[in-house]
């Protein structure tokens, strides 16, 4: 869910860049050098996951997983996603330099919301954990879509219909991400619980 270059208005691009920079600054504070490698490797994981296409009926959709990245990194998701999106812009020309701030917000803010909403649900019961995982995937895409739609509509009121179409197209993606994230979180909990926030130290 990238917003291309040249679509958004100047003020929206500027505000997006400023907010993304603020989030990144906070994120960098939480990432000491011990954690940089971990964040970088997760950023690489996010990048690769976005190349994985899962079948949906006759077509396919690619994974986003910003909710899980947020859950695992908290505020650190801002710099990690910034770097991943910058690499996508440079390597594939998905998105670009001016929309980078807005695109970081689209991915990182939902991740951060998931982190605060769901991290305490991970350690109570298996059922809550599944719910938290599903929430991460579902809400991650839903909020991303809403932020993208807001950026479009604030830029240009006539984008309302286009924004609606984009949001509608992402409804099935929300469910798929929810299912994948729920199983993914359950898997990580089983295999390496120390990765999850509040998990036991290794």
């Amino acid at each position: 869910m990238h917003i291309s270059e040249g679509v958004l208005s100047g003020p929206v691009l500027g505000a997006g860049a400023a907010l993304a920079a603020a989030g990144t600054a906070v994120g960098l504070k939480t990432l000491d050098y011990e954690k940089i490698a971990g964040a970088a490797l997760l950023a690489a994981g996010f990048f690769v996951a976005s190349l994985i296409h899962v079948p949906l009926g006759p077509g396919n959709v690619h994974l986003i997983l910003n909710g899980i990245v947020g859950l695992l990194l908290g505020w650190g998701a801002f710099p990690a996603l910034l770097v991943a999106l910058l690499l996508q812009a440079v390597l594939f020309q998905y998105g670009g330099l001016t929309a980078l701030g807005v695109n970081v917000l689209i991915m990182a803010v939902p991740g951060l919301v998931c982190y605060y909403l769901f991290r305490s649900m991970l350690w109570k019961s298996a059922r809550l954990r599944i719910a938290a995982g599903f929430g991460c995937g579902f809400l991650g895409v839903l909020l991303a879509g809403l932020i993208a739609a807001a950026a479009l509509v604030i830029s240009e009121e006539s984008f309302l219909e286009v924004a609606g179409l984009i949001l509608a197209a992402h409804v099935p993606v929300m469910f798929i991400e929810g299912i994948v994230s729920a199983s993914g979180v359950a898997f990580i909990h089983k295999v390496q619980p120390s990765l999850l926030p509040g998990g036991p130290p290794r």
Binding site: S4, E5, L87, L97, T98, F187
Partner: protein, 252 residues
């Protein structure tokens, strides 16, 4: 496969100092993104085409890379002319396309394509490692540069890791379909990818510590100034001034 298809070359653009390319790519992108006047935007598109030609990029690859943006623009062209209120331009039955809608679609198309092409010619013509060095020289915070370099370094490793897991799943007879089993399998693959990534991160950090990592990447890259850099910077500055002038004369 992750490939840097434009990164290696011998064109004039490839010889320009990467720092200058990054700075002018940013200036060009911002100026085009906030531009409004047709004259300025047409100038931007012409300049972007010249840059792509000067970088001698493979036309087929350029088209391939443009597909996502073109698809999005197509969506805009299908919706905007009919939904933006304004004077009718073309009426078919109950629907009428407005002048304003068509103008907006044109404006966005020009901007998107110009920035996309310029980005291909200017920033995709260096490896991400060179980009990291250039950003470092331009004063981007150490931690971001470190993050960028490590992410880039391990991107290919993680991708290879995924290919391996995927092949293993295939060998065991996994066929992706639209069902819960498939989605769960994908989740386990990605979960494994993240677990392996974090395991690797610990080894990487330990190895970095062993080599004396103190939170600073020393970049030995030096970018000698050549004649290409001078001409490039003069040309791009001229373009920026011309675009600003086109915007300014239209508003006066």
């Amino acid at each position: 496969m992750i490939e840097e298809v434009f990164a290696v070359g011998t064109s004039r653009i490839h010889r320009v100092d990467p720092r200058h390319r990054v700075v002018f790519a940013a200036v060009f992108s911002v100026q085009t993104a906030i531009g409004k006047e047709p004259a300025a935007l047409i100038l931007a598109l012409a300049a972007a085409l010249v840059l792509v030609l000067a970088a001698r990029l493979d036309a087929r690859r350029v088209l391939q890379r443009s597909v996502p943006v073109l698809a999005f623009l197509m969506l805009l062209w299908l919706v905007l002319p009919w939904t933006v209120p304004g004077r009718p331009w073309l009426t078919t039955g109950p629907l009428s396309a407005s002048m304003e809608g068509v103008r907006l679609s044109w404006q966005i198309s020009l901007k998107s394509i110009s920035i996309l092409l310029a980005l291909m010619a200017l920033t995709a013509t260096m490896t991400a490692a060179t980009l990291g060095h250039a950003l470092h020289h331009l004063g981007v915070p150490e931690k971001i540069v470190s993050l960028l370099m490590i992410t880039y370094r391990y991107l290919f490793v993680i991708e290879a890791e995924f290919t391996r897991l995927w092949r293993a799943a295939k060998v065991r007879g996994f066929r992706p379909r639209t069902n819960l089993h498939s989605y769960r399998t994908y989740a386990y693959l990605v979960g494994m990818l993240f677990v392996r990534a974090s395991d690797r991160a610990e080894r990487v950090y330990a190895a970095m510590r062993c080599r004396g990592f103190k939170g600073k990447f020393y970049t030995l890259a030096v970018f000698p100034a050549g004649r290409d850099t001078v001409w490039f910077s003069l040309g791009m500055s001229g373009l920026a001034i011309a675009m600003a002038a086109a915007e300014w004369t239209a508003t006066v």
